[in-house]
């Protein structure tokens, strides 16, 4: 019994002494951390995607608190969240535009010619190294989903061997842009609706023989809206820095002959329809 009491006594006294010692040390060696960093970190989405260019949200919070970066550097936060951070710190939220990723290709496995049978690793980089992948077009989406794997938000879906970005999920962090071995994923302003879903600089006839969805460079869009579209060689492109871009209805009036120029909604709906048709 007395052994038990002594054991409890020894442990208790030792714990008390050590606890006091730790307390004293913590008091004397306290590190003053910036409370604003914690504040910003709480307001950030915590996705740790790295889209801002910092190593995670904590690093970005430090940069914002120290004034090195503006709160709108976070591509994931909505404008309200950015404003909340700016208000909490009493700084300028910064000017800029939100971005979204677009896979500039419409060559799904029905549109484009499947040149050869590929049964290697399901990886775009690997497939593109072995004779340029299974598809005929050397500039198009390979469709093995490297971008979809890289996306931290699950915003990319591969439909019929073609990667399609879900605009409502995409935050524009740019991870997919780095993951694509073909470099056909572009970051565009979030408020733009229509894109040219083709990246091939080949001649129109060559493209036409390989893919039904490619831009043949007819110039219809450029003639209809010269301020919004331009054509380089056989490839049309959207002038994203234009003051005003045509809306969905105006895009329909252009009647792009191959459907390479399409709104996001139509592009996705078209791919979905093809897939459901395949099921039947």
């Amino acid at each position: 019994m007395s052994n038990l009491v002594i054991a409890a006594l020894v442990m208790g006294v030792l714990a008390l002494v050590l606890g006091t010692a730790i307390g004293i040390f913590v008091k004397f060696f306290k590190v003053k951390s910036d409370p604003r960093v914690e504040l910003v970190l709480e307001l950030l989405p915590g996705a740790n995607c790295g889209g801002c260019g910092c190593a995670g949200c904590a690093d970005f919070a430090k940069a914002v608190a120290s004034g090195r970066l503006k709160p709108n550097g976070c591509p994931v936060s909505s404008q309200e969240q950015v404003n909340a951070i700016a208000f909490a710190l009493g700084v300028d939220p910064g000017e800029g535009f939100a971005r979204r990723a677009v896979v500039c290709c419409s060559g799904d496995k029905f549109q484009t010619q499947m040149r050869k049978f590929y049964n290697g690793a399901i990886d775009c980089a690997a497939a593109s190294m072995i004779g340029g992948g299974p598809k005929g077009c050397r500039y198009g989406c390979i469709g093995m989903g490297n971008c979809a794997h890289a996306c931290p938000f699950g915003a990319i879906e591969v439909i019929n061997s073609l990667a399609v970005v879900h605009q409502e999920l995409c935050v524009g962090c740019g991870k997919c842009v780095a993951a694509c071995p073909r470099g056909i994923i572009k970051l565009v302003p979030a408020d733009s609706t229509a894109h040219v879903y083709c990246s091939s600089p080949e001649k129109g006839a060559v493209k036409r023989s390989l893919c039904h969805g490619g831009c043949i460079g007819c110039g219809k869009c450029e003639r209809a809206f010269p301020d919004s579209f331009t054509k380089t060689g056989f490839l049309a492109s959207v002038k994203y820095d234009a003051a005003k871009l045509p809306g969905a209805e105006e895009i329909q009036t252009i009647k792009c002959p191959t459907g390479a120029l399409a709104t996001e909604v139509d592009h996705y709906a078209g791919e979905k329809a093809v897939r459901e048709g395949e099921k039947k």
């Binding site: 054991a7 020894v10 714990a15 606890g19 730790i22 913590v26």
Partner: protein, 196 residues
């Protein structure tokens, strides 16, 4: 002769990592860069020296004492008390390090709190208790055991830095080749056996 055993013996002959196989976790975990290995070994030397001194004192004067003619043996509390003291010590060191050297604190990362459960630290305390060293002897032994750990991890980390540039077979890349290297290093230290 006794001090030769406590110093040279602890560093070379009975090296904590390479012949007693204690403290393998930080030995493999923090040995990718010489700079972090140096930080880790510094922290371990410090903790082992202090822990040896304090645990030896506790062992001699707190666990075995007589009160009013009755002698008490609290040997069963040994591991519990040692762990408690080591944990408190590591906590204090962490606090001090965070203040005095934030870069070293960042570099050590998770391994600093892990010293608490580093078996080398508890191992040196238990070995001291087993050999019933005096406080001074235990402190010397603890310090040189820590230096032995530092020697092993520094040798190993510089080897690993060189290995980064080597092209071993694919299956051996990374940890496997590191484990093979550790084995060879341990065999080399076997050569010191019988020195003292």
């Amino acid at each position: 002769m006794k001090y030769l055993e406590l110093t040279v013996g602890a560093v070379l002959v009975y090296n904590f990592v390479l012949s007693r196989f204690l403290g393998i976790c930080p030995f493999l975990g923090v040995s990718k860069r010489v700079s972090t290995a140096m930080g880790m070994s510094g922290a371990v030397v410090f903790v082992m020296t202090l822990a040896s001194a304090i645990t030896a004192a506790i062992y001699r004067y707190l666990l075995h004492f007589s009160l009013g003619g009755v002698s008490y043996d609290l040997g069963f509390l040994q591991v519990l008390l040692f762990i408690l003291v080591i944990a408190a010590l590591v906590q204090i060191i962490e606090t001090v390090l965070q203040k005095l050297s934030p870069s070293l604190y960042q570099a050590l990362g998770i391994y600093l709190p892990l010293i608490t459960t580093n078996c080398a630290v508890l191992g040196v305390a238990t070995l001291n208790a087993k050999a019933n060293y005096s406080v001074l002897d235990a402190t010397i032994f603890g310090c040189f055991s820590g230096i032995g750990f530092a020697l092993a991890i520094l040798l190993f980390s510089s080897l690993r830095e060189k290995l980064e540039l080597a092209t071993p077979p694919k299956a051996f890349e990374g940890t496997p080749i590191a484990l093979v290297t550790a084995g060879i290093l341990a065999m080399a230290f076997c050569g010191f056996a019988g020195l003292c």
